[in-house]
Symmetry: C2
Subunit: 336 residues, 2 copies
DNA sequence: AAGATTCTCCAAAACGTTTTGGGAGTCAAG
DNA sequence: CTTGACTCCCAAAACGTTTTGGAGAATCTT
């Protein structure tokens, strides 16, 4: 039946006893515990979620905010990640609600609504900025949260992030080792931590090699942004022979730009994210990706531990970047 | 403050009056209404969601079940759809929770948990089967729901679906008009409605043209499934000159098979879904897609109307299929 | 001026659970 | 026979809101 009261009545017991029997407390005899369980099973009784949540002062929900830039909804493999995360949260009795950001409202406003309305026990933030007002707000409220991507916040918070700096440094050094000297970078918007870290990785490598880090163009983290940025670099008097792109989408746009200029098909290129379509571009796109299986499970675990009160310092994961070598990075260094 | 009680106390009013003032009832004077609103604004008061849900007997949540076949998490553009849906639901005070299906549990079990625990006001079902036990369960419980894809259920229910039958019939007729006579079909698992409808569309066209509908192979709706099914068709004594594939993923697998056999690059092919990577395959994949802007908004609207009690018959949308012509469908009909 | 109506406000109930703080029994030890 | 410990159960409070069913004061009607 619907009610605990009804179930109790039909058994001739108090609702206290029925409740405790179902929760497996020791202060109800094994006999009645079994009897109650059977009755509950037979009638298909499930406790009313709202009532429990009110009483236990827990929302049993975690919200993830979806960036609403159309067409660029989140990190690659985002849905797989969400699904895995939701599955592991569910095992702990938590459900994952998605919190899109309506036009004209800020992500901060959404966080406020969820947090101050006691709608969630924790939040999952995606696509962090270097200075992220959502992070500052959640920290001020003291509500548990985990971010996908670091921030420059002075007070530590839980996160999972790829080591973009090292990845892009290594990619640049690889090009240098292959003989390239004019290595360009197609950068994402620098207010995003991931974009900034990747740019710094490229810069660091160039400096180590004694090369000027001047072939850099910034654009939106989309195909179009990569296309425009690549065009800009190709107009330089001394063109790059290799291009390190902040994302695969930008790299795919850059490939389009390369097709449009003379000798462009001699320029090496590498992206980041390992988008499925990268395997089908021409040339097939060499790329990088964050290591780690089942990221969603990791996020879920971090969220649960944050809710349990573990200190933020112990809830930070930086994952190495691995290369996915296809064809686009092995053009000769002495092009056009 | 956190509490309605505290807010009322600080204003020297009863909680009744404060509650009604915030909800804009007319039986509180404009003066106090304004005073209450200001105080609420200043202290950042938001009603406790769990308490309101309990009292109003509404969960303010809608769940969408995620099919858990790894790597094939849902229809194309699924995340965009979810995001749009969540956004429009949010405007009506509902949040969207994602309900993944853990290994070893059935989707039916998940539905049961959500429905019987009063966790949701409605459900959104994805990837329907022809006979879908989730649909039967929800109908028996009388809880509102909308499906993405039709079923063969005798009692009508709300859905949004593409007109796969007509789309595949038309695609087949186009091949016939272009001179093709041996037109094969790479089919998805026939227990899914979409796969069955697309197969029937192909069959119908073949019959209309007086051709035998015998070049058909079924596979999993993935790249690998399409690859294997295509190889099977290519082994036939009288090979197809054109291939109509149930999904783009299968079509991409089929393209791989075509590359591996002599003369395979002379065979025409068309898919369905308009996956972004289709633009990058070689040859670029011709495909089809369901018409309609902002599908998520449509789902949200149907859900809200279903919750409001509109009869199912008025909540059924069949969208036309449109072609996306790239290169893969215009090979000469007289191949190998 | 009495009755009817309207305006403001409020006390209390209700939503369905979990948890607190015992209350009867029973049994063994003192 | 008392005491204490133990077992099994329960009444009542609490969670924070919305809604019901008025109450009292002011205003209008006649």
């Amino acid at each position: 039946m619907a009610n605990l009261k009804q179930l109790a009545q039909s058994l001739g017991l108090s609702i206290t006893t029925v409740s405790r029997a179902l929760d497996g407390y020791a202060d109800v005899s094994a006999a009645t515990r079994e009897r109650v369980r059977e009755a509950a099973e037979k009638t298909g009784y499930r406790p009313n979620a709202s009532a429990r949540r009110l009483r236990k002062q827990r929302a049993e929900l975690v919200a993830v905010t979806l960036p609403s830039d159309p067409g660029h909804i989140g990190p690659p493999h985002f849905l797989d990640m969400l699904s895995g995360c939701a599955e592991h949260l569910a095992a702990a009795g938590l459900n994952l609600v998605i919190a899109p950001v309506p036009r004209g409202e800020s992500e901060l406003e959404i966080c406020r609504r969820f947090v101050d309305g006691r709608r969630v026990d924790a939040m999952l933030l995606v696509r962090t900025k270097r200075r992220d007002e959502r992070v500052e707000f959640l920290q001020s409220r003291g509500i548990p949260f985990v971010t996908n991507g670091r921030t420059e916040s002075l007070v530590p918070h839980p996160f999972i992030d790829g080591d973009g700096f090292s990845g892009f440094r290594a990619a640049t050094l690889r090009f240098h080792a292959a003989g390239h000297r004019r290595i360009g970078h197609i950068a994402g918007p620098q207010e995003y931590y991931f974009a900034h870290a990747r740019c710094r990785g490229w810069q660091a490598a160039m400096e180590e090699c004694g090369l000027a880090a001047d072939l850099c163009a910034e654009g939106a983290p989309l195909e179009q942004g990569g296309y425009l940025a690549a065009l800009e670099l190709l107009r330089q008097p001394s063109r790059p022979t290799a291009l390190v792109c902040a994302t695969d989408e930008m790299a795919i746009g850059a490939l389009r730009a390369l097709r449009e200029v003379d000798g462009g098909n001699q320029i090496s290129i590498v992206g980041h994210d390992d988008l499925p379509m990268g395997a089908f571009t021409s040339p097939p796109l060499s790329t990088m990706r964050m290591t780690g299986e089942n990221l969603g499970a990791s996020f879920a675990s971090l969220l649960l531990r944050a809710i349990a009160g573990e200190p933020a310092e112990e809830l930070q994961e930086i994952h190495a970047i691995e290369f996915v070598d296809r064809d686009s990075h092995r053009r000769p260094p002495l092009a056009a």
